[in-house]
C-alpha cells in the first residue's frame, strides 16, 4: 500500500506540478490535493474521508477562493492545531503534518515560532521542493512510516527505546540516562506526535548520541568527497552502529557510542579518536580496514587544528571546536552536542547569513580575539 498524503492548498492548480515533481512517477507515494473548506467542521469531515497517512498544509489558505467559491478565513496553523487536537483525541489517526509555503511563514515565524511545534517539517516551495524533490519525497514517506511504527510500538514494552531500535543494557548502557526521560515515564499517556517530535527534533536532526555522515566523516578525519572508499567504510561500521529506529529511511544516522566501540576494536588498539590528527586517524582506519582510498580532510584554514570533532554549521566543513565558537541554541538538552561556528565564519559574520548567533558565553572570547 503506497503512502498517501493529503495536500490542502488554496492554490491547487499551481501546486499540482510540485506534487508531481515530488512523486516523480514513484508508486510508494501518492497525493490527493484539496482546496480548503471555509468551515473547519467540513474540512475535518473531508480529511477523515480521505484516509491519508499524512498532511501537507499551505500556510496561507486565505488567498484564493475555494471550490465552493467561498473565502476561507483561517490559515494553515488553525487547521494544523485542529488536526493535532483530533489526533490526540484519536478521532483522526496520528500522522505527520508538514507545512509548505512560499515564504510568508518565515516572516511570521520570526515573530512567533511557537506554531512550529505543530509541524514535523517545514518546506519552502521554491527552494526545498524545486531543488530537491527527491529528498522531500523520501522525508514524506519516512515520516508517515515513522508515525505508523510509533503507533505500533507506543503500546508495547519499553516504547521509547524500541522506537529507536535499541534495547537498554549491554553496549547501550553508556547512553545518557536523561535521554528521553520524560517520555519513558508514563509512556502510554503520550501522543504519537510527542514521540515523533522528540525523536526527530532532539535526536535525529541534532547531533548528540546520533550523528550524520558529515560529523562522522569529521570524527574519522576523512574528506568524504575525495574518498572513494568512504561508502565501503560506512557499510563496514553500519552493521553495528547504523541507526534503524523511526525516520531512519530519510535521515541516515549512526550511534556515536557504537562507532566509538568499533574504533576501540581496531587493531592495534588505538588512542581515543579525539586525541589524533586527521592524518593519524585515517592511517589507523586504513590499516585496520584495509581500505586504501581514504583521504584525510584538510582544515578550513591552514592554521586550524585537524583534530576534528564537529563541523562548522556555516561552512559545513570539519572543525576542531578549538577553532570555533559555540553557537547559540535556544533550548539545548544536556546530552546533545554543542553546535559550533568556525572562527572565520564568525569574524566575517557569515554566520549571520544563516541566522546563527554565538553563545553568550563566548562573547568575551570573541572580543579579545578581535583585539589581536
Amino acid at each position: 500500500m503506497p503512502i498517501k498524503y493529503l495536500c490542502i492548498d488554496d492554490d491547487k492548480e499551481s501546486v499540482l506540478p510540485l506534487l508531481d515533481a515530488i512523486k516523480n512517477g514513484s508508486d510508494d507515494l501518492e497525493f490527493e490535493c484539496q482546496k480548503p473548506k471555509s468551515e473547519i467542521r467540513d474540512q475535518i469531515t473531508s480529511i477523515k474521508a480521505s484516509s491519508s497517512n499524512g498532511y501537507i498544509i499551505d500556510f496561507r489558505l486565505d488567498k484564493n477562493k475555494n471550490d465552493e467559491n467561498e473565502i476561507v478565513y483561517h490559515r494553515g496553523h488553525t487547521l494544523a492545531q485542529e488536526l493535532r487536537t483530533r489526533m490526540a483525541e484519536r478521532s483522526i489517526s496520528s500522522s505527520p503534518i508538514v507545512l509548505w509555503t512560499v515564504d510568508d511563514f518565515q516572516q511570521s515565524s520570526k515573530k512567533d515560532d511557537t506554531s512550529r511545534d505543530l509541524y514535523d517539517r517545514v518546506y519552502i516551495k521554491d527552494k526545498d521542493i524545486l531543488n530537491n524533490p527527491q529528498v522531500v519525497k523520501n522525508e514524506l514517506v519516512s515520516l508517515a512510516q515513522g508515525y505508523i511504527s510509533i503507533k505500533e510500538k507506543k503500546n508495547g514494552p519499553d516504547p521509547f527505546f524500541s522506537m529507536l531500535g535499541i534495547s537498554v543494557g549491554e553496549d547501550d548502557a553508556s547512553l545518557d540516562p536523561r535521554m528521553g526521560e520524560s517520555l519513558r515515564t508514563q509512556g502510554r499517556l503520550h501522543s504519537c506526535h510527542k514521540y515523533a517530535q522528540y525523536i526527530l527534533k532532539n535526536l535525529v536532526l541534532v547531533a548528540g548520541p546520533l550523528v550524520d555522515d558529515r560529523i562522522l566523516a569529521a570524527r574519522f578525519g576523512i574528506d568524504k568527497s575525495q574518498s572513494e572508499d568512504w561508502r565501503k567504510l560506512l557499510d563496514k561500521i553500519s552493521t553495528e552502529s547504523k541507526y534503524n529506529g523511526v525516520f531512519c529511511e530519510a535521515w541516515p544516522r549512526w550511534w556515536m557510542h557504537r562507532v566509538e566501540n568499533w574504533w576501540k576494536s581496531c587493531k592495534p588498539s588505538p588512542p581515543p579518536l579525539r586525541r589524533l590528527t586527521a592524518e593519524e586517524r585515517v592511517d589507523i582506519i586504513k590499516k585496520s580496514t584495509k581500505l586504501t582510498k581514504l583521504v584525510a580532510a584538510i582544515p578550513y584554514k591552514r592554521n586550524y587544528s585537524s583534530r576534528f570533532w564537529t563541523i562548522c554549521q556555516v561552512y559545513e566543513c570539519p572543525l576542531d571546536p578549538i577553532d570555533g565558537f559555540m553557537a547559540f541554541s535556544p533550548n539545548p538538552l544536556p546530552w546533545q552536542d554543542t553546535p559550533y561556528l568556525s572562527m572565520h565564519s564568525v569574524l566575517e559574520r557569515e554566520h549571520k547569513k544563516k541566522n546563527f548567533s554565538i553563545n553568550p558565553l563566548e562573547r568575551q572570547r570573541l572580543k579579545s580575539l578581535k583585539r589581536i
Binding site: 524545486l130 569574524l347 566575517e348 554565538i358
Partner: protein, 762 residues
C-alpha cells in the same frame, strides 16, 4: 556642690604663676568663676553644639561637600580638587585641596576658629579676584564634622615660609563640656609646595558609592558657572575662573569623576556667539559642529529701533539644542533633556557676576518662550533649547542699573537694546540651523524626504521682516497716516530675486514629489505582482524540470529546452531579487547595522542578478565590528541597489567583463563603504551634478522589466541615495577609484557608540 570662689581664685593664681600656662584649664576655671557672679548671668556654649552645626544643619552629604568647595572659592582658589579615598565603606577619607590664599595664624583664629563671624558681611568680596563670597552662614567648616570624625587642616599662605596644621577630633566635642575649653593642637610645619588650604577628613561617617560621588559632583557643577567666563571678562585683575575636579581613589587607583556638562555640550546643534566692540559694532557668529564646514561670521547691522552703542564689551555664547531623538543618541537623550529642563536658559552676568533671576527656569527675559508660543519663527527656540550666558561690562554701573530690590536690572533703553541684540542673533541662527537641518533631511524617526516647508518659510520670513522694517514709519510711531515709504531700488531687486528663487525652488520640489509619487506607486505594484509571479513561476519550473529530465539526449528539442531553462532561471532570479528588495524595504526598524551584514545581505539579494549579468562581486572588508549608528536596514538596501543599478548600466555601456568592488572599514569616528565598478566612469564635468535631482545621463532603454524610458532615466536614484546617507549624518562623495575601476562612491556614516550595540549583535 561647686567649688568655692576662693578655691577657684587660688587655683587660677597658681596656674598663672606656673611656667607654662595650660590654656584649657585656665579657661575652664575662669568660666567657672564667672558663673558664680551674683549679679550677672552669661550664655555659655555646650561643646556638642558643633554637632548641631555639622550633623544637623548640613543635612545632606552633597551640601556638606558644596560648603567646603565654597570655602575654596571664597579664598580665591582657581582649582579645588576632591579626592575620595577608599570610601566604599564607612571610615574612608576625603581630601579637599584648594590653591587659594591660605590663612595666616591670625586669620585662622579670627576666621576659621570663630563661629558666626561677621567677616563675610563686612568683606563681601574676596581679596584677590573680588569674588562675591559664596559662603554665608559661616558654618562651612562644620560640614567637615558632618562628613567625618577627624579633620586635619593644613594651610599655606603665599608669603609665609611655613605652614600651619590643626588637628580636630570631633568626638572630643561632647555634651556638658564648654566649647571654648576644647583645645585643638596647632603646629607649625615646613612650607608646603603650593599655597592654599587642605582639609583632610578622616574616618568618614558614611560610605560613598561612585553614584553618590557623581551626584555630589553634579550638584556642585550646577552651582558653578558652566561657562568659561575668561573669554568675556576684560579686567586687569581678571578672575581666571574656578574649576573643581573630583577623584575617587581606591587601592591606590586614582580615577577622575567625569564632567557631564561637556558630555551635554557635545550634543548641541550649534554654538551661537555675539559681541559688541568698543565702537558699538555688533558681530554674530554661528558654529555648527554637527554639520561640518559650517560657520557664519558676520557683522550685525544696526536697525532703526536699536543701537548697539551702549552695549560695548557685551558678549554672549549660547549652545543650541533641539530635543529630538534623531539628533541626540538614545543613551544621552534623557540626560540632556533633564539637564536642559533644570539649567536651560540664558543667564546674565554683569561685570562677571550673575544677575538673578535672568536665566532661571521661570524667567523669560529674552521673551523666547513668548516668541515660541506666538510662533514668530518656526524652529524650536524656547528657553530650554539653549544653554548659555550673556555678559555685559558696566564698570561704572551707569548703563545697566540694578533695581532697588537687587533682583534684576531696570528695564531701560540699554536693557531693551541688549534684549534685541541677543534675540536677533539667536533667531537668525536658529533659522540658519533649521535650513541646514532640513537640507540634511533629518526630520523624524522614519526617513522622510526633505520637505520644503521650513526652509522656504524661513526665507519668506526673512523677506517679509525686511519688508516690515522698511515699511515701518521711522520717527513718529503714533502717526496715524501710515504710508509706505519709497523703497530703494536695490532692495526691490533683492526682493524680486528672492521671490523668484522661492518660486523656482518650489516648482522643482513639486516636480520631484510628483516623480517620487509615480515611483512609489510603481514600487507597490511591483511588490504586489512579484509575489504572485513567484507562485506561477514555481509551478512552471516544477513542470519544466520534469520535462527536461525526460529528454536530455542532444536532440534539437533538448537544446530548445536548455534555452528555456536558462531564461526561466533568469526570470526566477529577477523575481527573487525584487521580492527580497521589497521584503528589505518592508523592515522599518532603527538598529545598529554591521557593514559585513549589509554587504552579505546585499550579495544575497543581488546574487541572481549579478550571475545573470555576469558581474563579479569582490569584497574587501578591513576591521571588525563595523557597526553604524542606528539606521534602517532598508535604507542600505536602497543605497546599494541604486548604486548597483547604475553600475550595471555603466558596465553594459562599457562592454567589459563587469566587476563591482565593495570596500569597507573604519575611518576615525566613522565607518565607510566604497562601491566601485569598472563601467564607463563619470566624466569630470558631471561629478558635481550626479547627486542633483533629475540629473541623468541614462539613454539606455529599460534595464529591468519596464522599458519606459521616462522612468529609467528619472535621475532620482543618486539623489535618493544622498538624502538617505545625509539623513543619518553621513556623507556620500565620488572619490578616486581604486586601480582597475572607473567609478567609486564613498559613503561615510558615524560608527555606533559602544552602548548602542546590543548584546545579540555578535
Amino acid at each position: 556642690m561647686p567649688a568655692s570662689q576662693e578655691s577657684i581664685k587660688k587655683r587660677i593664681s597658681e596656674l598663672l604663676a606656673s611656667d607654662s600656662i595650660d590654656g584649657e584649664q585656665l579657661l575652664s576655671l575662669t568660666s567657672e568663676l564667672a558663673q558664680q557672679d551674683d549679679k550677672n548671668v552669661r550664655f555659655t556654649i555646650d561643646a556638642s553644639h558643633i554637632n548641631r552645626l555639622g550633623l544637623e544643619l548640613v543635612a545632606k552629604q552633597e551640601t556638606a561637600v558644596a560648603e567646603l568647595i565654597k570655602n575654596g572659592y571664597d579664598a580665591d582658589a582657581t582649582v579645588v580638587d576632591l579626592i575620595f579615598k577608599n570610601v566604599d565603606v564607612p571610615g574612608g577619607s576625603l581630601e579637599v585641596w584648594d590653591n587659594g590664599n591660605g590663612m595666616t595664624r591670625q586669620e585662622l583664629i579670627d576666621g576659621f576658629m570663630r563661629i558666626s563671624t561677621s567677616d563675610k558681611i563686612t568683606n563681601p568680596y574676596s581679596k584677590k579676584f573680588k569674588r562675591k563670597r559664596a559662603g554665608q552662614k559661616g558654618i562651612g567648616r562644620f560640614a567637615t564634622q558632618r562628613l567625618g570624625r577627624e579633620l586635619i587642616l593644613t594651610t599655606q599662605t603665599i608669603d609665609d615660609n611655613f605652614a600651619l596644621r590643626i588637628h580636630f577630633n570631633w568626638d572630643d566635642f561632647t555634651a556638658k563640656r564648654e566649647l571654648i575649653t576644647i583645645s585643638n593642637t596647632i603646629e607649625v610645619i615646613e612650607r608646603q609646595p603650593k599655597h592654599g588650604t587642605t582639609l583632610l577628613i578622616n574616618n568618614m561617617r558614611d560610605a560613598w558609592s561612585d553614584a553618590q560621588i557623581k551626584r555630589a559632583f553634579r550638584y556642585i557643577s550646577s552651582l558653578l558657572n558652566p561657562f568659561d567666563l575668561e573669554k568675556v571678562k576684560n579686567k586687569p585683575e581678571k578672575d581666571p575662573g574656578f574649576k573643581t575636579s573630583f577623584y575617587s581613589e581606591k587601592d591606590n587607583d586614582l580615577k577622575k569623576i567625569t564632567d557631564e556638562t561637556e558630555e551635554i555640550f557635545r550634543h548641541a546643534l550649534g554654538i551661537i556667539e555675539g559681541s559688541v566692540d568698543q565702537e558699538g559694532k555688533a558681530y554674530w557668529s554661528l558654529v555648527s559642529s554637527r554639520y561640518k564646514e559650517f560657520t557664519i561670521n558676520k557683522e550685525l547691522e544696526v536697525d532703526s529701533n536699536h543701537s548697539w552703542a551702549h552695549l560695548a564689551g557685551t558678549k554672549f555664547q549660547v549652545y543650541y539644542f533641539i530635543l529630538d531623538t534623531v539628533l541626540i543618541p538614545k543613551g544621552y537623550f534623557s540626560l540632556v533633556r533633564e539637564y536642559l529642563k533644570t539649567f536651560g536658559g540664558i543667564r546674565l552676568y554683569r561685570n562677571g557676576f550673575r544677575v538673578h533671576p535672568y536665566g532661571e527656569p521661570f524667567d523669560d527675559w529674552l521673551r523666547l518662550d513668548k516668541s515660541s508660543a506666538l510662533r514668530k519663527i518656526l524652529p524650536p527656540h524656547r528657553n530650554e533649547n539653549f544653554l548659555g550666558f550673556v555678559s555685559v561690562n558696566d564698570d561704572q554701573g551707569t548703563v545697566f542699573q540694578e533695581t532697588s530690590s537687587r533682583e534684576g536690572l531696570i528695564e531701560n533703553k540699554a536693557f531693551e537694546d541688549l534684549r534685541a541684540f541677543v534675540y536677533e542673533i539667536i533667531s537668525r541662527s536658529v533659522l540658519v540651523i533649521a535650513a541646514h537641518r532640513q537640507k540634511k533631511g533629518s526630520g523624524t524617526k522614519d526617513y522622510r524626504p526633505p520637505q520644503p516647508a521650513i526652509s522656504l518659510f524661513a526665507k519668506a520670513q526673512e523677506l517679509v521682516s525686511k519688508l516690515d522694517e522698511k515699511a515701518r514709519p521711522k520717527e513718529e510711531p503714533s502717526n496715524a497716516t501710515w504710508e509706505i515709504p519709497s523703497v530703494d531700488s536695490n532692495f526691490e531687486e533683492d526682493l524680486r530675486r528672492g521671490i523668484l528663487e522661492l518660486g523656482q525652488a518650489g516648482q522643482d520640489l513639486l516636480e520631484e514629489i510628483g516623480m517620487l509619487r509615480v515611483l512609489a506607486s510603481l514600487g507597490l505594484t511591483i511588490g504586489e505582482f512579484t509575489h504572485e509571479i513567484r507562485h506561477s513561476l514555481l509551478s512552471l519550473l516544477a513542470d519544466f524540470n520534469q520535462l527536461s529530465s525526460i529528454s536530455d539526449d542532444g536532440s534539437p528539442e533538448s537544446s530548445i529546452l536548455k534555452n528555456i531553462d536558462y531564461n526561466l532561471k533568469a526570470i526566477q532570479a529577477y523575481a527573487q531579487y525584487f521580492d527580497r528588495a521589497i521584503q528589505n524595504n518592508a523592515q522599518r526598524k532603527l538598529e545598529v547595522l554591521e557593514l559585513r551584514d549589509i554587504i552579505n545581505n546585499f550579495e544575497l539579494m543581488a546574487g541572481p542578478l549579478l550571475i545573470k549579468e555576469q558581474i563579479e562581486l569582490i569584497k574587501d572588508i578591513q576591521g571588525y565590528d563595523l557597526f553604524t549608528r542606528p539606521m534602517h536596514n532598508s535604507e542600505w538596501a536602497s543605497i546599494l541597489l541604486n548604486l548597483l543599478t547604475n553600475s550595471v548600466k555603466a558596465i553594459k555601456r562599457a562592454q567589459v567583463q563587469g566587476k563591482v568592488l565593495l570596500r569597507a572599514g573604519f575611518v576615525a569616528d566613522n565607518v565607510f563603504l566604497e562601491f566601485s565598478d569598472n563601467g564607463t566612469g563619470i566624466p569630470p564635468e558631471h561629478v558635481d551634478k550626479v547627486f542633483d535631482a533629475f540629473f541623468t545621463t541614462s539613454a539606455m532603454p529599460g534595464l529591468f522589466a519596464t522599458d519606459s524610458e521616462e522612468l529609467v532615466g528619472t535621475g532620482l536614484g543618486l539623489k535618493i541615495v544622498k538624502d538617505i546617507v545625509e539623513s543619518s549624518q553621513g556623507e556620500i562623495s565620488i572619490v578616486h577609484p581604486p586601480p582597475g575601476y572607473k567609478t567609486c562612491f564613498r559613503i561615510e556614516v558615524p560608527k555606533a557608540l559602544e552602548e548602542e550595540i546590543p548584546e545579540d549583535a555578535y
